[in-house]
Symmetry: C2
Subunit: 401 residues, 2 copies
């Protein structure tokens, strides 16, 4: 029957009892003839609790040690789940971060998977074992434990499936992918299918169901991904390549992202070198910069705005200080009361006028926006957080989501 | 000034606040000019809590996975402690089981350290870092996580000190080594010094302050060991080679061990092959057998008695079943209501009559014993648990402990 990778999130493995139920699901798959690789997250709120402990020590704890600390969460889950399989009479083995051969690079707490030495996993599968792998973590070129950031277990699962050339099932708190977060729009419709490109765009724009990097890997290696509920038995959503069987819509979904910090740097002495120097500082700290806009030079100065994640606020402050030392006149402003709303759809490629339609809807409903950026299949607007609900309702009903 | 290894037990690192106090102690040592390696146990009751979780899954959880699970406890401690050092402005690095180069062999949950690849630790020390190592665990030849059994962090610390050819300080719940456990005899005296041999004998006979294996390594590599309180500032006990400066006593201490399971196997068909077969079964399961006695052969049968640890009761039952299948007449009896009392002292080598003195004391006080065994520097008696208090009092006052 071939191999399958299944990923279960923190809620799904939140207690021993829940783990036992998950185990029964997995065993059913095994009995159908599949070789099964399971990727698990830390139990319930474990990761947050570990971070809380670190925060008792420092507002900005050493990231290398934070990774060592957080990695224990998944190690607890894999060992317990593997014990459960054995207790139920199925051979199983847990693989820790050092054993699973997942190699990463980047900075601590935000690493990327670069390679997987899959032979060990394959060998255990050939021996008939259910292989349980710690999600969310890897080992970098220095032999250090690294973590992949929020949603990192999804990436572990899809990357393993890519290496094993098999499908990947993501079992999570939600029962599939919706055109818009149902908590924001109660009439939201669940999608049967979504293309990799659209899902990638939705994720990178703030939809939290799956981490962008995991979809990227799925897209690159053509891994069929299925997202469904870990506790309900209802049909989920397939993430796959666009094909004719999928209904053509101009807009597939809306992403809403509250984790937006808008940074404005006023009075930057205008030169290409200065501007590249500024963005270079953020790049070296791996701060993700988005929605850049720049005023025309005036009296030798320009103003630069961009958005980033709120979690990078302390790095922004640090770099702000550096910049003030380099340039006397510079002023750094931060605005956190911002929401980014994005409309996403492959159909935009062929159907023009989506941007115009959104502009009109916003104008008719008195929603002002601060910035707008477009990609081939999405348009994003930053608006005041207070207009979020109105904007979502207006867009969802206009685009029939 | 050279290097020093300090070990802090679970109570000492039980909370972040306690860890901060420990860190200040360590920093004082660092400021005195020492290169410091810290070995820590899991926080407070963590190890027991992890075992409890495993027991929710199985009465006899997979030991390989239990080791993976338990190893997370120390990993949490090392990362937090290392964060604290950094926050206090001292460079530090935590080394997990895979990074510290501690190689083990044996069976899961009871491994032995066989080698330490110390270069990594040395390199970090040379770079001025406070190196924080996860105690209690190692990696076996298959690359599996293994643990060293109760008290295993002491062994990690002493083995590191042996490799670094430096002293080892063990900071723990008690404030040193007593001639007898003060909870059993309130007037017990703390020792300034004890020889390796005596300490080894006391530990292996049940004194719980230090694990026997750690003293063995200290003895073999001549590591000066200092045992003291992690929270009180009082003088502890040095464990070192016997020399003339140490007061000569016939008896240095008494070990009392309640963790005794007395096993009697009646009606074993008498042949050397049968008897070696029986003990072979226990050896293969790494059950520690002690205080063996055997009756004279009678009508072709012998009765064999021995003691072991209560935690091996399930293995004893298993082997008992096997034996009954092999030999029809065999009867296996277990008695857990037993205490082993041992008197220990290097002085026994030169001063005869200690055994006689104990026999008289027991006879005068109506304490009957079931078995007696002697070594060069100790004599052990198994008595009824109900006689324990009386026996300890009689011996302590007679030998002035």
């Amino acid at each position: 029957m071939g191999v399958i990778v299944q990923k279960y999130g923190g809620t799904a493995v939140g207690t021993i009892e829940k783990m036992k139920r998950i185990a029964d699901r997995v065993i059913k798959k095994k009995e159908e003839g599949y070789d099964v690789v399971i990727v698990v997250s830390a139990m319930g709120e474990t990761t947050n609790q570990l971070i809380e402990m670190a925060k008792c020590i420092s507002d900005n704890p050493c990231k290398r040690e934070l990774d060592v600390l957080m990695a224990t969460g998944e190690q607890v889950s894999i060992s317990l789940l593997s014990m459960i399989f054995k207790e139920k009479g199925y051979d199983s083995i847990s693989l820790t971060v050092f054993q699973a051969g997942i190699k990463t690079e980047g900075i601590h707490t935000k690493n990327r998977i670069v390679e997987i030495d899959i032979d060990k996993v394959k060998r255990h599968l050939e021996e008939g074992k259910i292989v349980v792998v710690a999600g969310f973590q890897g080992i970098n070129e220095l032999g250090e434990i690294t973590t992949l950031g929020r949603g990192g277990s999804d990436t572990t699962a899809v990357a393993l499936a890519a290496k094993l050339q098999c499908p990947c099932e993501i079992y999570t708190d939600v029962d599939g992918i919706y055109g818009v977060d149902p908590r924001l729009y109660s009439k939201a419709k669940k999608l049967d299918y979504i293309s990799y490109e659209e899902m990638m765009e939705m994720s990178s724009l703030g939809s939290k169901v799956m981490e962008t990097r995991s979809i990227e890997i799925g897209y690159k290696y053509k891994v069929p991904i299925y997202v469904a509920s870990s506790h309900k038995n209802v049909k989920g959503t397939y993430i796959k390549e666009f094909d004719e069987s999928m209904e053509q819509k101009s807009i597939t979904g809306i992403s809403v992202n509250d984790d937006v910090l808008m940074v404005t740097i006023n009075k930057v002495p205008y030169s290409l070198k200065n501007i590249s120097n500024i963005f270079g500082k953020f790049a070296r700290q791996e701060v993700n910069i988005d929605m850049i806009s720049q005023t025309s030079p005036r009296e030798g100065f320009v103003n630069i705005s961009f958005t980033t994640s709120k979690e990078d606020e302390s790095i922004v402050d640090e770099i702000g200080k550096e910049l003030k030392e380099e340039f006397d006149d510079i002023e750094v402003q931060k605005d956190t009361n911002i929401t980014k709303v994005s409309v996403v759809g492959l159909g935009m490629r062929t159907e023009p006028g989506v941007a115009y339609k959104v502009f009109s809807l916003f104008a008719d409903n008195d929603i002002s926006f601060k910035q707008v950026t477009t990609s081939e299949i999405s348009i994003s607007y930053t608006i005041n957080a207070s207009d979020k609900e109105k904007a979502v309702n207006v867009l969802c009903s206009a685009f029939n989501l």
